[in-house]
Amino acid sequence: MIHSKVVAMILAGGQGSRLKNLTRKTAKPAVHFGGKYRIIDFTLSNCANSGIHSVGILTQYQPLALNTHIGTGVPWDLDRRSGGVEVLPPYMSTEGGRWYAGTANAIYENIDFIDLHDPEYVLILSGDHIYKMDYREMISFHRSTNADVTVSVIEVPWEEASRFGILNTKDDDVIYEFDEKPAEPKNNLASMGIYVFNWKLLRRYLREDHKNKDSTHDFGADIIPEILRKGHRMMAYRFRGYWKDVGTVESYWEAHMDLLDPNNELRLYDDDWKIYTKNLDAPPHYISAEGHVENSLLNEGCVVYGTVRNSILSTSSVIEKGAVVEDSIILPYAVVGKNAVLKKTIVLSHHKVAEGEALGSDDTITFAGTHDMGIL
C-alpha cells in the first residue's frame, strides 16, 4: 500500500565466455533464448510485472544488440517520462575513463543515476537468469522483517551445494555467514544473486569499498561479507519456482529442453505474468503439407517443409524439405537446408546449414555457425 520508490539495477556486463559461439559478438544478456526471447527479457519482464518502473542496465561489452533490442523500452512498458529503462555504460570523468571493475564497482560508478530517483530500496539483479519472480513480495518481506539487506535464495540439493554461494542462516532465516562454494556446506540455501538493499546503507558501503584497495569490488566476495561483518540485519528470502542460470552451453541447452515439458514450472502460457520481448513483426508460422512437427515449440515467421522433433524453432527460421531436426535449438532467421540432419545442435542466427549436411550427435552439443551477431 505504501508508496516506496525502488530502483532496479541489472548487472549485464559479463562477457559470458562459457556460452562460447553464442557470446563471441554479443553480450550474454542479449543472447537469444526460448524461441523468441533474449535472456534479459525475463528479468526485465519481472521488473515490469512487479510494477518497478526505474531500471538501470549495467553493461560494457558489445552492447549494440542489447541496445537495439531494448530500444526505448516499449515492449516492457518502460518507455517512461521519468525512470523507465536506461542502459548505463562506463564513461569518462575529469579523472579519465574507467571500465567497470566488478559488480559493486559498476553500481558505485552509477551512484548519481540512482540518487536521481531518490529510492528507498535498490534491487540488484542479474541479467542472465531464467525465472519468474514477483519482486514486490521480496520487498514486502524485506520491509516486514526490518532487514537492511535481503538476499533471495533457492534450496539446492545438498550434494550440489558446494557448487554455489551458500548463505548460512539461523532458524528465522537471518543470514550470519556467506560461504562461496564451500567444500563442506553447512546449508543448502544458494544465493540467486538478487539483493534488496536499503539504498542509504548500500551507498555508504559502496563508497567505502571503492576506497579499499584490497577489494575486488564484487557483491558476493566483498560487499555482502563486509556488511555481515559490521553486524547489519541480512535476511534470506526463500524463492520457490523455476530458476536457471544459463551461463554454460549445457545449462542453456537444458533450459530449452525444460521448455518442451508442457508442465514445466516456468509456465510461459500464464497470461498474468507475461514475458515481454521486442516484436519482430513476422507473420504466423507455416507448416507445409509434407512438414511434420512433434513435441516442439515454433514461432512467428517459421516455415517448415521438413521434420522437427523435440526442438525449438526461433522466429523466422526455416526448415527445408527433407531436413530432420532433433533435440536442437534453431535461432532466429537460421535456415536448415534440404535433407540436412541435425541432432542436439544449436544453429546460430542467420546461419545456413548446407543442403544435406549432417551435424551433431547424442553425446555433445554442437554449434552450427561460428558466432552470433545478435542483431536482427
Binding site: G34, L268, P283, S296, L298, I312
Partner: protein, 374 residues
C-alpha cells in the same frame, strides 16, 4: 525522410457486406491472417511508403478500433506532430444526433483537414489486402501534375468473375473519367480500388463543395460526381490486391495465404505488416499432433490435427480434434475429439468435446464471438 503525402483512411463507408463478423467491430478490425486486423495492411503499407501522418475517419464502433490501435506505437505513429489522428463524428450537445453517411464526420473535422501540413493526400479504405508501395503512384501523380489520380487494377477476362460484380469500375469517355458499377458486361476493365491521390487543395475544395451543396452523404460519391471538374489520371497498381467485400471474399483471401509465394509477397514485399503486439509465447506442438498446410500463430497449444486452416493466437486444439479448411480466431478452444470443416470461428468460442461443425467452401459456417457449443 518523410514523404509529402498525408494518409486518410475512411472507415465511414458502408460496410454491411460482412455482417457476421461486424456485429461488434468495424470492417477495419476484422481479424485476418492469424494475427492481424484488416486495417493493419493499409496502415503498414502507408508507413512503409514513408507516410508518417495519417487521419482515420471513423463513424461508430470506436471501441474495437481504440483497443487495437491504442496510442499507435506498434505502427510508430505515436508522434508529437503528425502520427495517427482519429477523426470522430461530432455529437452536438443539444441534438445528440449524427446523420447518415461519412460526410457529417468530415464536416465535424474540417479544421483538421485544413491544418494538414502535407501538399498531397492519399485517400483509402481498410478492406483491400495487399502489400502496396504507394510511392510510384505518388511520384507519377506529382510528375503529371494531376489533381486526382485514381488507383486501379487492370482486370482481364473479368466477365466470368462473379465476385467482381457490383464493384467500382473506371472508364474514360470524351477525355474524362467516370467511376460506376461493374454489371459484368465488360471483359477487360479497370477496377477502382477506392484509393485516390489528390492535391490537398483539391481534396479540400471537394469536401467544401460537397458540404455546401449537400447533395451527397458519402465522401466517395462526392469525389466521383466531381471528377469532371478536375484534371484526373489513373495509375495501375501492379501488386496483387484482394478486396474484402463479402464473407466469401474474406474466406478465399484468407486461404490464399497458405500459398507460400503469396505469403512471401503479402508479408514482406515492400515492408513488413505491423500489428498490435500481444506477447504470446511459442506455439507448442504436442507429440501426436498433425498439422499440414496451415498457418498457425503464436501462443497456441496443438494436440490434434489441423489441415488447410488458419489458426490465430492463443488457440487450443485438443487431442483428437480435427480442424480442416477453417479459420479459428484467437482465444478459442476446440475440445478433444471435435471436428470442424469449412468454419470461421470467432474469438473466445468454446467448441465442446466431440462436437461436429460442417460448413461449405461456398458458404463457410460462422460461429459468433463468445459462443459456447457444449
Amino acid at each position: 525522410m518523410s514523404i509529402n503525402l498525408q494518409g486518410i483512411i475512411n472507415l465511414g463507408e458502408r460496410e454491411d457486406y460482412i455482417r457476421e463478423l461486424t456485429m461488434n467491430r468495424p470492417l477495419a478490425t476484422i481479424p485476418f491472417a492469424g494475427r492481424y486486423r484488416l486495417i493493419d495492411f493499409t496502415l503498414s503499407n502507408m508507413v512503409n511508403s514513408g507516410i508518417d501522418s495519417i487521419s482515420l475517419i471513423v463513424k461508430n464502433k470506436f471501441h474495437s478500433l481504440n483497443d487495437h490501435i491504442g496510442p499507435g506505437k506498434d505502427w510508430d505513429l505515436d508522434r508529437k506532430t503528425g502520427g495517427l489522428r482519429i477523426l470522430y463524428p461530432d455529437m452536438q450537445p443539444d441534438l445528440n444526433l449524427i446523420s447518415v453517411g461519412d460526410i457529417p464526420v468530415v464536416r465535424s473535422n474540417l479544421s483538421h483537414f485544413s491544418s494538414i501540413k502535407k501538399d498531397y493526400i492519399l485517400l483509402t479504405r481498410s478492406n483491400y489486402i495487399g502489400n502496396i508501395n504507394y510511392r510510384p503512384a505518388f511520384e507519377e501523380h506529382v510528375k503529371k501534375g494531376s489533381d486526382i489520380t485514381i488507383l486501379t487494377r487492370h482486370i482481364r477476362n473479368g466477365r466470368a468473375r462473379v465476385e467482381l460484380l457490383g464493384m467500382d469500375i473506371v472508364q474514360k469517355r470524351n477525355n474524362s473519367y467516370t467511376i460506376g458499377r461493374n454489371l459484368g458486361n465488360q471483359n477487360d476493365f479497370d477496377l477502382s480500388i477506392e484509393m485516390f491521390i489528390m492535391k490537398k487543395s483539391v481534396f479540400l475544395r471537394i469536401i467544401h463543395d460537397a458540404i455546401e451543396e449537400g447533395a451527397e452523404a458519402f465522401l466517395k460519391k462526392a469525389i466521383i460526381s466531381r471528377l469532371g471538374e478536375y484534371k484526373v489520371s489513373t495509375y495501375t497498381i501492379e501488386d496483387d490486391i484482394l478486396p474484402i467485400h463479402s464473407i466469401q471474399q474474406y474466406y478465399n483471401a484468407s486461404l490464399a495465404i497458405l500459398d507460400p509465394a503469396y505469403a512471401e509477397y503479402l508479408f514482406y514485399k515492400h515492408g513488413k505488416i505491423y500489428t498490435k503486439a500481444k506477447d504470446a509465447p511459442s506455439t507448442l506442438y504436442a507429440a501426436g499432433s498433425e498439422v499440414n498446410h496451415s498457418l498457425i500463430a503464436n501462443g497456441c497449444v496443438i494436440e490434434g490435427t489441423v489441415e488447410n486452416s488458419i489458426i490465430f493466437r492463443d488457440v487450443h486444439i485438443g487431442r483428437g480434434a480435427v480442424v480442416r479448411n477453417s479459420i479459428v480466431f484467437q482465444d478459442t478452444d476446440i475440445s478433444t475429439g471435435a471436428n470442424l470443416n469449412y468454419c470461421i470461428v470467432d474469438k473466445f468460442v468454446h467448441v465442446g468435446k466431440g462436437k461436429v461443425l460442417m460448413g461449405d467452401g461456398g458458404l463457410p459456417y460462422v460461429i459468433k464471438k463468445g459462443v459456447s457449443i457444449r
